[in-house]
Amino acid sequence: MSAHRIMFWQIEYTWLFYLLSAIAVLLFLIGAGSHIWVWKKNSKSMSLKGVGHALNKMCIDIITGRRLIRGDMAAGLMHFLIFWGFFLLFIGTCVLVAHEHLFEFLEGARYLWFSVLMEIGGISLLVGIIWGLVRRYLQRVPRLERRAEDAILPLWFVLMVLSGFFLEGARLAANSPQWADWSFVGNWIAGLIPAAAAERLYPSFWWVHALLCLGFISVVCYSKMFHILSAPASIFFSSASPVLPPSIEDETGRLDVAEAVFYDGCMRCGRCVAACPSSGAGEAYAPRDFVQWARKQMWQTQFPLNDIRLWNRGDYEGTNESMWYCTTCRACLEVCPVYGAAFEAVAKERRQAVEKGTLVPTILNQTLEKLFRYDNPWESSKKQRGAWAEGLDIADLTKRGAVTDLCYFVGCTTSFDDRARSIAHSFTKILQLTGVNFGILGKKEPCCGDIARRVGEFGLFEEQKEKCKTLFDQYGITEIATSSPHCYHTLANDYPDSSFRARHYTMVLKELLKNKKLSFEKPLNVTVTYHDPCYLGRHNRIFNEPRDVIRAIPGLRLVEMEHSRENSLCCGGGGGRMWQDLKGERKMSEVRLEEAEATGAQILITACPMCLIMMEDARKAAGTREGFRVMDLNELLLEALENK
C-alpha cells in the first residue's frame, strides 16, 4: 500500500462539519465584502495605472517580505516564518480538499513530500508565532502594543498548530503506518500517546482542530488578521492609485481608495511609531494611533453596523489635538509595510478642522491670519521683506528693466528671521562670486503657501499659489532657486502646470560645482555632519547634491549621523509645527542635535531655514560641546571660499 491519508477517519457527523465550514466561509465572505463596500463607499472614483508594476511590487513584497526585513531584521524574519508557515498549511489544506473532492492524487511519494512540507509549515508557524509573542510580551519591543487581539490571535494560532500536531500524532499512533517517519513531528507526538487511547482520542482532537480552524476563518475579516488581504491590497493600491494631493474641490473627509485600503491594512505594527520624530520625542502622538482612529472614523461614518472589528474597536480617542503634532516629515511612509502615509490622514483631518475653524489652535489661527494679510507668517507688514538685501547690489526683478537668468525665491522665514537671513546673505554672495546673473522679488515676494498647505488651509494655499504664479508670469520668471526645501517642494510639486522650473539652492550649487564655477582653494580642516531636511531628502530624494558640494571642500571630513538620508530625523519645524505650542518630553531638535554631536563633528550643516533655526535654538538651549556650530550649507561654503 502506498503512503496516503485516510480522510474523515472515524469521524461522524461529517455533514455538521460541512455545515460549519459553510458558515465560516460565509462569515469570511461577508466580512471581506463589507471591507470592500466600505472602501468603495469612502473613496472617490479611482483610476488604476501601472497595474502590472503594482502587482509585481505587491507579489515580491509579500513573497520575500523584503520591506519587513529591511526595516527590522528580527521582526522581518519572524514574519517570514509565520507567513510561510501559514501559507504552506493553507495551501496544504486546499490541496487536501482538492484531493478529497476532485481527484485523488496524494499518494506515494507525493504524499510523503506533502507530509514533510506540512510538518515544516507547522513548525515554522509555531516558531514564528512564539517568537512574536516573546518579542511582544517578554522583550516588550517598544513599538508593539499589547491589546486583546494581540494575545488572542497568536494563541489561537498556537492552539491550531498544536491541535493539528496532536491530531496527526493520534492518527499515527493508532494506525502506525510504515511511512510515519516522514511526519517527524507527528510521529514524535505519536510516541507519547498509547495506541489504545489514540484511537479513542482521535475524533475529539479532530473536532477541536476543525473548530479552531473554522473559527479562525470566521474572524479573519473582523480582526487585525484581515491584513492578510488588506496589506497586499494596500501595497497594490498605493502604487496603482496613489494618494493624490488633496485639492480644494474635494469634498472634505473624502478619501482616496489607497487611503481607505491603507486604514484597513494597518496591522498596528508600530514601525511608524518607531520612526516618527514626534513619538520619539515623547509627544502625545503616534501615527499608528492616528491611522487607527481614522480607520474607526471611516467605519463609523460609513458602515451601518459601526466598527467591524471585534476587539480594539473604539479605544483611540482624542485626535483633536493630536492631528497638530505631525511635522509631515514622511518618515512613517518610509517604513510602513503597506506604504501608508499617516501624514496624509493627518492632512485630511486638518483640512476639516480648518474648515470648521473651532479646532484650530490659537497661534496657528493667528499665523494663518497674518499669512493671509501680509504674505508671511512672521511680521504684520510686507515692507521689511526685502530689507535683508539692502545695500547688497542685488537686482530686484519687480523693478523696471531688471532681467536675470535666475530668480532667487527667498521665502518667508529666510526673509524675516534674524538667524535665517544669513542664508540669504551667504547664498547671494556665492552667486555673486560665481558670476550668476540673478535677482530677487524684494518686498513683492509672496509666501509660496507651504504652511497653509501643510496645515490644511487649502483655500489660502490656492490664493498664495495664484499670487506667486501671477507674479512669476508678470516678470517672465522661468528659473527659480529657493532657500527653503519647503518652498522648493511646494513650487515643484504642488503647482501643477507651472511655467517655471524650481530648484532648491543645493541643486544650483551642485550645478555650479559641476560647471567648475564653484571651487575651493584652501583646505578647511573641519569635521562636519549633514542633516537631511525632510522636504529635501525624503520628500524629494535630494540626498547626494548637498553631500557632493560639502565633499568638494578640500580637507573637510563629512561624517554621517545614526539617522541619515531617508532615515533622517526631523528637526520638528515642518508641517506648521513652527507655529504650534505643543510639547513632549523632549524637543525633536534636541534629539537630533545629540545625534549630530555624537558623530564627533564640529559643525552640523543644514540646508533649510527652519532646520537652521530649530537646531540653533536647540544648540543654545541644550548647551553643546564648546565650539560646536550649527550652520547652513551656504555659510560653510562661504567660509571655505573666503578662506584665503
Binding site: K356, L364, Q366, F372, R373, S380, K383, G459
Partner: protein
C-alpha cells in the same frame, strides 16, 4: 426658553498689530494713518465668538451691526462666515470719527429699528481709540442691565449668567434678559475662518446698509470726537539711545530714565 436673539456690535479698524513703522500721523487732519489692512477689532471678534457659541448651543439668531463712514464688505462678511446670520451696515457720510456717545446713539437707533432682542454684545474696547465706552453707554441708552468684561457667558431660563473679570479674580453675576454685555478676550479667540468659507460668503447676497436717515438719527444727535491735537509719540521710530560710560554711570543714566518714566 425659545430661541436666543443676539445683536452684536463690531467695529472695523486698521490692523492693530501693524508694526510701528507702518503707522504715521496726519496731524493736520487729526488722523492716524495706518498702512495696514482693515480688520474687525479684536475684542469684537471675541464677542462674535461668544455670540456664535451661544447660538450654537441654544439656537437663535446672531445679527451683526457695524457703523462707519465707509465699511468694507470683505472685512465684515467674516462675521457671517463665522456663523452670524445677518450683517447690517450702518453707513453714512456723517458716521465718521464719532465720539463714543454718538456711536452708541447710532447703534441704539439701529437696534430699536431691529426691534426684539435678548442680548446685545460688544467688545470691551476698540483696538484703535481704546476708549471702552460704547458698549456701556449703549446699555444705558437701551435701559438694559449692563455687564462688563465678560469672560464666559451662559444663558438659562431667561437669564444670563456671566463670569466677569474683577480685581480679585472673577465674579459670577446673573441678570434677566435682555441685557448688554461687553466681552473681554478671555471668552476665546474667534474661530478660524478658512479662505474657502470666506470666499463663499463673499459671493453671498447683498448686505443691507442703513443710513442715518433710515434709522432716524438726525445730524444734531451726533457729534464728532473733539480732538484738540494728535501727535506722534516722541519715541515712534525707536531710535535706540545708548547710555554710555562705566557701568555705574550707565546705571545712573538709566535710573534717570526710570524717574522720567514714572
Amino acid at each position: 426658553m425659545t430661541e436666543l436673539n443676539i445683536i452684536i456690535c463690531v467695529k472695523q479698524i486698521p490692523d492693530p498689530e501693524a508694526p510701528l513703522s507702518d503707522v504715521s500721523i496726519d496731524a493736520e487732519n487729526l488722523e492716524v494713518v495706518v498702512d495696514a489692512p482693515q480688520v474687525i477689532s479684536p475684542f469684537d471678534e471675541n464677542a462674535l465668538e461668544a455670540a456664535i457659541q451661544l447660538k450654537e448651543e441654544l439656537d437663535g439668531k446672531v445679527t451683526v451691526l457695524s457703523m462707519g463712514k465707509k465699511l468694507s464688505d470683505s472685512v465684515l462678511r467674516k462675521a457671517l462666515a463665522a456663523g452670524a446670520d445677518e450683517l447690517i451696515l450702518l453707513e453714512d457720510n456723517g458716521f465718521e470719527k464719532l465720539d463714543s456717545h454718538s456711536t452708541a446713539t447710532v447703534l441704539a437707533a439701529a437696534i430699536k429699528k431691529i426691534g426684539s432682542f435678548d442680548l446685545v454684545l460688544a467688545g470691551r474696547q476698540a483696538g484703535d481709540w481704546d476708549s471702552g465706552q460704547v458698549g456701556l453707554i449703549l446699555g444705558e441708552m437701551l435701559g438694559l442691565p449692563c455687564i462688563s468684561l465678560a469672560r464666559e457667558i451662559t444663558v438659562e431660563d431667561g437669564s444670563v449668567i456671566v463670569k466677569k473679570t474683577v480685581p480679585e479674580g472673577y465674579e459670577r453675576v446673573k441678570a434677566k434678559l435682555p441685557a448688554l454685555i461687553t466681552v473681554s478676550n478671555e471668552v476665546g479667540e474667534l474661530r478660524y475662518i478658512s479662505r474657502t468659507r470666506m470666499l463663499k460668503m463673499m459671493r453671498g447676497g447683498d448686505i443691507p446698509a442703513w443710513t442715518a436717515e433710515e434709522i432716524g438719527v438726525s445730524d444734531d444727535a451726533i457729534e464728532k470726537m473733539n480732538i484738540a491735537s494728535l501727535t506722534t509719540p516722541p519715541d515712534m521710530t525707536r531710535d535706540c539711545q545708548f547710555l554710555e560710560g562705566s557701568p555705574d554711570q550707565q546705571a545712573a543714566a538709566l535710573v534717570d530714565v526710570f524717574v522720567s518714566l514714572r
